[in-house]
Amino acid sequence: MELFNLFIKSVFIDNMIFAYFLGMCSFLAVSKTVNTSLGLGIAVTFVLLITAPFNWVIYHYLLKPGALSWISQSYSDVDLSYLSFLIFIASIAAIVQLVEMVVEKFSPSLYNALGIFLPLIAVNCVILAVALFVQEKEDQSLMGLSISEVTIYALGSGLGWFLAIISMAAIREKLRYSNIPKPLKGLGVTFILTGLMAIAFMGIMGIKI
């Protein structure tokens, strides 16, 4: 039940786009048509599901203050957490490259669908942000997180992002036929729309589950 709550919370309440504005750059750039945003949304969710647990393992067993004590007691006061940015981004870039190669080898049709989006994802803020949020949560809680919690959190954040970009693309496709003041066309109205959608999402923000 705990995990289910966490899932719902990360999809709707802590939505990456509407509550934290992460991954906005690709959100704004790619949400012109539903088809492309479908591809990017799936790719982001997929990569998040792999990178977030992986980065958690690295942080939990290598970087966290005292994390090295599983090797020997004399390492228990080593604190490598200042390296986290570098390690996280390097592992994300490496995993994205690896995923790209594996997908290309085993499923050419999926590769054709996701292909161009995969390299973009290494620099999508959502991926790094989930790793950093997990790190922040890990530092705050005494017990630390479990790997299933991290996986569910990553899945929820990915799906929340997916939901946001799909609905934005659907609205923008319709928007093409409406009469907007010229200087507001394109980027301006997209910002305002995202803001309005975020206000709608705030309606469910107060819910505690």
Partner: protein, 208 residues
């Protein structure tokens, strides 16, 4: 002398006509979340300017030795190293603000301004112009950040830079702070309006 005016142009175009946020659509993610108050916004703008300028400088000086296939990883590593330095400095000297910025300092790494400028400019230009380009883009980014945070702080909590400036008389007459301005969605709407105003002043920026 032509060279000098070119450099000046590199510094000034990103502030208005090629503004990273409102025209190039780069680096939106962080700009919205840190603009509730002016102080964190200023620190964030400064950090991004420094990181952009120096990563541009470094990447541009080693651009001929980077193998094309792994350039993204090289760029990310350079940027991440610079961000770690900035993060440690912020923690040492302005701990409160660094707490407020939380993960957003780390997210400078994936800030699209950096990757965008590295790919579009530093990979094909000499170190000095790249450095100037980095500072220019950082300034354009900080400008929008400061404008946005000024509006949000003034209307949302009636203060500027942490000082109350709304006279108490207003409150007695029934004026209230607009709580919506503090919330994230209004940042998006405000930026939309800034874009609207900017584009109606500069007709060539209008999209079709």
């Amino acid at each position: 002398m032509a060279n000098k005016s070119n450099n000046l142009k590199l510094l000034t175009t990103p502030v208005n006509l090629q503004n990273p946020i409102t025209v190039q659509v780069l680096g939106i993610c962080s700009s919205l979340a840190v603009t509730v108050q002016m102080k964190p916004a200023f620190v964030m703008g400064l950090s991004v300017t420094i990181v952009t300028a120096f990563s541009n400088l470094i990447i541009s000086s080693i651009r001929n030795t980077i193998p094309n296939r792994i350039r993204i990883i090289v760029q990310l590593v350079v940027v991440a190293a610079l961000v770690i330095v900035v993060d440690q400095i912020l923690r040492a000297y302005v701990y409160d603000i660094s707490k407020q910025l939380s993960v957003f300092v780390g997210l400078i790494i994936t800030n699209c301004i950096l990757m965008g400028r590295l790919e579009a400019f530093a990979m094909g230009n000499k170190p000095w112009p790249s450095f100037i380009d980095g500072i220019g883009n950082g300034l354009g980014y900080s400008l929008i950040l400061l404008l946005l945070s000024f509006l949000r702080e003034l209307l949302g909590s009636g203060s500027v830079w942490g000082y109350k400036i709304m006279p108490p008389v207003f409150y007695q007459l029934g004026y209230q702070n607009n709580g919506l301005m503090i919330l994230p969605p209004m940042a998006l709407i405000t930026i939309g309006i800034i874009i609207w105003i900017q584009r109606s002043k500069n007709k060539e920026l209008i999209e079709n």
